[in-house]
């Protein structure tokens, strides 16, 4: 009886077996990475805007309060995108013929709205309410990141469910005094002590049941 396989087949067979196992594991690991990557979450993706509005300049530089433009953040689920008229409050006075601002003026005259491209988007089956988070002492920066240092706004957080849960499970880690909510440069001193106090003070509950967000 002649050999059917070459000697190398022995090594080959072992390599194949262990290789297959290794590759399978590797593929799973890669998938796990992809679904958390900006490619999927859009984290850190800059969106081109019709007007290159710079939060860095307006918030960081001029120190305009968030609520000046996002008027309904304290009262409504939706923070609100400023109408053209809000821009014109100032820009009818300054930079009145800056090239950059042409679309704003155009919109204001024609009455045709500026079409911004959305940066933060949650699926339809998630119901997020800005007002309650702001009231309970969750700072803008906690989710939106260093807006005051963003030239073009990008999505600072992954906005995945596990990310939401981080805070919903342990609000004391992120909560801040109400008066600091809109402060972009707030640095907590001793969060470990302050956090639990605020949680008690504001009566914050760990909301992890489904209908807190999904209904």
């Amino acid at each position: 009886m002649a050999q059917i396989f070459h000697r190398s087949a022995n090594t080959l067979s072992r390599v194949t077996i262990f290789g297959a196992i290794f590759i399978a594991g590797f593929v799973l690991w890669v998938i796990g990475g992809i679904v958390r990557s900006p490619y999927v979450t859009n984290q850190g993706v800059h969106r081109e805007q019709p007007v290159p509005f710079s939060h860095q300049h307006h918030v960081g530089g001029l120190g305009i309060d968030c609520r000046y433009c996002h008027t309904s953040v304290e009262t409504s689920s939706f923070a609100g995108i400023p109408p053209t008229s809000t821009c014109m409050n100032c820009h009818s006075q300054i930079w009145t013929n800056a090239e950059m601002l042409a679309p704003v003026r155009e919109s204001f005259q024609s009455g045709r709205p500026i079409v911004w491209s959305r940066v933060h988007r949650l699926p339809d089956y998630v119901h997020f309410n800005h007002s309650i988070h702001v009231t309970k002492g969750i700072g803008c920066a906690s989710c939106h990141g260093p807006i005051d240092r963003m030239n073009l706004v990008y999505q600072a957080s992954p906005l995945t469910m596990e990310w939401c849960l981080d805070c919903h499970r342990a609000p004391e880690k992120f909560i801040r005094p109400r008066e600091e909510v809109f402060n972009m440069n707030y640095v907590p001193k001793n969060q470990s002590v302050l956090g639990p106090e605020l949680v008690k003070l504001y009566g914050v509950k760990n909301k992890t049941h489904c209908s807190a967000c999904h209904y």
Binding site: S72, F78, S85, S117, Y125, N129, H209
Partner: protein, 1011 residues
């Protein structure tokens, strides 16, 4: 002959138009999505095949599937747009709804509403608590009118001979006729429906004044002529009757469905039921209701005593009552026990002079109304429980006579032009008048209507009519109170209101409805602030007419003619699609009819005995009804013969067949086309509400599928009884033993003997949302069902799917009968999700898509659901609903803005169910949290609760012992459905308590068998 119109053609057509009309309309057009559809769709010349939109849905399911497949892979989203205002309106908060007061017309009479508006898109209708006809309640028609507003099948352009034209063209075309009408007599006619709007009335009056040659006719298919004529017989002039059931202790309905239908029924239901909320310490007697009727009506279904008679016998009964009160002893031609009932009824009336009310139904002959007035006068109830007011109509006329005259003149050629303002006479005018033939003799025919319907098709000119949510206006409620209607949205499909048309006829093309209404009221002393207040309140305080003083004259001589024998036909408008005007409203089509639970159809309703006589045996019924089928019956009535599916209704009078009209539309729209059977051909001007002499035979041949949502074959009453589903007793029995709902083997009260091996979850430091439903006061009116549908974006599934038992309503109203099939007691039991604390549905879900919230809500997480349907199988109450196909209509752009943005639209393959309106709960909780307080009792109102006219549904926080719901839970009559399963439902029921006349049904000991 439908022709398609391409863009260039359209350009060329509109190219040579001039005048601001055109520009204005193009601007409007180009703003609405409808404009795009306008090009894509075949030109809407109503050549739409008789499809029920199911084919379209099938297609969507495929699309939906592929979409869903795509959804599985998480891919980087393209940036989507976010469009702010240029100038944000005052007091507008993005993301928060605003409520506007307005008023909804039905049959010309208004009911006050509050409209919820998201980003200025009306999404939900609620009753206006300020309005006397509503008191905050709403009915199916009000709820469904949101869908009517966005309905993409609505007419969208002015048409001349079916081809697109402009408003300008139309006005131009009328001018010659107006010229003519200035001089020669009665050449130009307008035909309207019933009008109570003061300002529109005034407009028409001035129009008539302007053109002496113009004549005004009125026709409303759901005719109230008998009411008018009855009052004239009794009082010599047209008066309207308003009832105050809070002041009534004994009520006799002569064929009147005042609890479920007709002007003011919401108010009546509230008032009437307010007198029979039996609680632990109710001592003073509750009111009593006798219903004398043929078919089973909502009123009859909750009556303490129901006397089923043939329509022709009604006058006899009325006379007997009147005679009886006067001491006379006229005997109605009825069965012995019926006579006995009538006698004790009379004694009961006598015993309650001043607080007893007899109310006759709109369908009853004028003489019955006259008799009712006479009886009420006799009883001295006029002025107490019965109020007479001057007619709330602008120009009350005998509408039958009015349309008869019109037809006569059209035949004779005297009519040169006819402008139909609303309505669909070609479809719904009495058959014998042959309106269509006469109409087509008129050289100029214009029709204002929301749809391009049967009448429009036969008109030269068609002008799309605005929906009531799109226009200014004013209307009187059932008691005459005026409300101002304000538009919630600019006309979506560039329609025109009657105000605008009439205004344009008067002159000035731009007579906007706003000016019309405003100028009318400012002409009558309105001021800016009063105007503002009216708009805000939704009513004009004190605008109701003062009570008219009048006594009913002696009862007129009998006009009763001996019936022609045979089976008597009772013709009624359909309970859900009215006279056919709502045929294209899917919500109403799929809404189970209050008594029969049939959807998408009108059938021939007969009683069990009649069915037996016809040879439609009980066995056969059961066999067929298992598969939701029935047989055809051949109806021959005054020369008309028709095949209708036969349907048995317990309690339906013998030898009477009830037929609903309104179905069988040909040009209703994609949804309503060809649904059901057109029974108008059976409607003769001398017998609008039916007559005698019909022959009915069972037709051989194929069976007919009926989309009935509740299995209706004779359920062994023991089954319902021993399971304690319905628990009931007489008021007397209740007083003897308030605990009657907890005797026998169903002894345990909620919370009793339900120990568990497991430690209980602690909800004490949270809210504990709960609901109590009072089965005594539920009339099964369906208001809650469709309110739920509107609030929660519940899709419709179409007739085929309903016959497959796949309807999606989160809230259903179960109907059970008890006792003799010929004179049964009817029980209505609304069944939402029970929100069990030990929910059997949850542990079986493999992916935790359904779980409990901290408040003890049984959450359903759509986006996690994979659709194993295990939860539905394991739900003892079968309240879970599964999207077997892609039911939600994702493809129609027009319907998108209608949806409630606070509720996820469910996709194919996921389970859904009642959530206790969790979106409303969360909203209230967030409000409360923001203000750092606890949610107040009554702050969370579920959609069903809000709609309910009789306030049968109470919702709140059980943990708050002072809350209304907590108090009701403590009631002795409070019981849980299938409590022995240890599911610990949060929804419980108050047992049904009636107040029968001991003379008729001697008080039995509290029935332990709980049928």
């Amino acid at each position: 002959m439908s022709k398609t119109l391409n863009y260039t053609e359209f350009r060329s057509r509109i190219g040579d138009l001039r005048g601001k009309e055109y520009w204005r309309s193009l601007e409007e057009l180009s703003r609405s999505d409808a404009f795009d559809d306008f090009f894509q769709d075949e030109f809407p010349q109503q050549a739409i095949p008789l499809q029920k939109g199911v084919g379209r849905r099938d297609f969507m399911k495929l699309m939906g599937a592929s979409v869903a497949m795509a959804g599985l892979s998480a891919c980087s989203r393209p940036a989507d747009a976010i469009v702010p205002y240029v100038n944000q309106p005052e007091n507008f908060v993005p993301g928060k709804p605003i409520y506007f007061a307005s008023v909804m017309p039905l049959g010309g009479v208004g009911t006050g509403v509050l409209v919820e508006s998201h980003q200025f898109r009306p999404t939900k209708i609620e009753g206006n608590p300020e309005h006397p006809s509503s008191l905050g309640a709403s009915d199916a028609f009000m709820q469904a009118s949101v869908l009517g507003l966005y309905d993409p099948d609505r007419s969208q352009v002015v048409r001349k001979m079916g081809d697109t034209a402009t408003w300008g063209d139309f006005i131009g075309a009328v001018q010659p006729l107006l010229k003519e009408a200035e001089s020669n007599g009665a050449s130009l006619r307008i035909l309207t429906q019933t009008i109570t709007s003061p300002s529109l009335g005034a407009q028409i009056q001035s129009l008539l004044a302007l053109y002496p040659g113009m004549k005004w006719h009125q026709w409303e298919a759901v005719s109230r002529d008998n009411v008018r004529e009855g009052s004239r017989l009794a009082f010599g002039r047209y008066l309207d009757t308003v009832y105050d059931f809070t002041a009534a202790t004994v009520v006799v309905s002569l064929g009147s469905d005042f609890l479920g239908d007709g002007p003011g029924h919401l108010r009546y239901a509230r008032d009437f039921m307010s007198q029979r909320r039996v609680r632990r310490n109710t001592t003073q007697s509750v009111n009593r209701l006798y219903a004398v009727e043929s078919g089973m009506s909502s009123t009859g279904s909750v009556a303490d005593h129901r006397i089923a008679i043939r329509p022709s016998q009604m006058e006899g009964v009325a006379r007997a009552i009147l005679a009886g009160l006067g001491g006379g002893g006229a005997q109605p031609q009825l069965s012995a026990e019926a006579v006995a009932k009538v006698q004790s009824l009379i004694r009961d009336l006598q015993a309650h002079r001043g607080t007893a009310v007899v109310i006759a139904g709109d369908e009853q002959p004028a003489v019955v109304h006259a008799l009712a007035h006479a009886i009420n006068t006799q009883l001295g109830s006029i002025g107490t429980a019965v109020r007479l007011i001057e007619s709330i109509e602008v120009a009350p006329v005998n509408q039958l006579a009015s349309i008869q005259e019109l037809v006569r003149d059209m035949e004779s050629g005297a009519v040169r032009g006819l402008i139909v303002l609303g309505g669909n006479p070609v479809f719904d005018a009495p058959a014998d008048l042959n309106f269509t033939r006469a109409y087509e003799k008129v050289p100029f025919r214009a029709h204002l209507s929301p749809y391009y319907d049967e009448t429009s098709l036969r008109s030269h000119w068609h002008v799309p009519e605005t929906h009531w949510l799109e226009t200014w206006g004013d209307l009187r409620g059932h008691d005459g109170t005026v409300s101002i209607a304000q538009p919630l949205v600019a006309p979506l499909y560039n329609g025109r209101s009657a105000y605008e048309v009439v205004g344009a006829l008067i002159g000035g093309l731009d007579q906007a409805s706003y000016q019309a209404v405003r100028s009318y009221w400012f002409g009558r002393g309105a001021t800016e602030e009063s105007w503002r207040k009216w708009l805000h309140d939704g009513v004009i305080a004190g605008s109701a007419p003062q009570p008219a003083v009048a006594a009913a004259s002696a009862p007129p001589a009998s006009t009763a003619t001996t019936p022609a024998g045979g089976i008597e036909i009772e013709l009624r408008h359909d309970p859900t699609i009215w006279d056919g005007r709502f045929a294209n409203n899917g919500w109403l089509q799929e809404l189970p009819k209050p008594q029969t639970k049939i959807t998408w159809d009108n059938v021939l309703l007969v009683g069990p005995r009649t069915a037996d006589k016809l040879g439609f045996t009980a066995e056969e019924r059961d066999k067929l009804s298992n598969n939701l089928e029935t047989r055809f019956a051949e109806v021959e009535y005054r020369g008309v013969s028709m095949r209708l599916p036969i349907w048995i209704v317990p309690g339906h009078a013998e030898d009477v067949a009830t037929i609903h009209f309104g179905y069988g539309r040909e040009l209703a729209g994609k949804v309503g086309n060809g649904v059901g059977f057109n029974t108008y051909p059976m409607r003769f001007s001398d017998a609008l509400h039916g007559g005698s002499g019909a022959r009915i035979t069972m037709a051989a041949g194929p069976t007919y599928p009926v989309a009935c949502t509740q299995e209706h074959q004779s359920i062994d009453p023991k089954v319902v009884g021993e399971r304690g589903i319905i628990r009931s007793a007489s008021f007397e029995a209740f007083q003897k033993n308030p605990d009657f709902a907890h005797v026998g083997q169903l002894g345990s009260r909620p919370g009793e003997h339900d120990e568990s091996l497991y430690p209980d979850w602690d909800y004490s430091n949270n809210h504990a949302w709960a609901m109590v439903i009072d089965t005594s006061v539920c009339t099964g009116c369906n208001g809650c069902v469709i309110a739920c549908q509107a609030e929660n974006n519940i899709p419709i599934v179409g007739k085929e799917e309903v016959t497959r038992e796949r309807e999606m309503h989160w809230l259903r109203i179960d109907r059970y009968y008890r006792g003799d099939p010929d004179d049964p007691q009817v029980f209505h039991q609304p069944v939402p999700c029970m929100q069990c604390e030990n929910a059997p549905c949850e542990p079986v879900c493999p992916v935790a898509a359904t779980s409990h919230s901290d408040d003890g809500l049984n959450d359903m997480t759509y986006n996690r659901c994979v659709g194993t349907r295990y939860c539905s199988n394991n739900c003892p109450y079968k309240v879970r609903r599964f999207n077997f196909f892609h039911y939600a209509d994702y493809d129609t752009p027009a319907l998108k803005p209608m949806r409630n943005p606070d509720v996820t639209v469910r996709t194919r393959g996921v389970m859904e169910k009642c959530t206790y309106c969790v979106q409303r709960i969360n909203k209230a909780k967030i409000e409360a949290e923001r203000e750092g307080r606890r949610v107040r009792d009554g702050e969370v109102v579920t959609a069903c609760q809000q709609a309910c006219p009789t306030q049968a549904i109470v919702f709140g926080d059980m943990n708050d012992k002072t809350s209304h719901v907590a108090q009701l839970k403590a009631e002795p009559t409070n019981y849980a459905l299938l409590a022995e399963l240890q599911t610990r439902p949060r929804t419980t029921y108050l047992a049904n308590i009636r107040n029968p006349n001991p003379e008729i049904t001697p008080a039995v000991e509290p029935d332990t068998d709980h049928h």
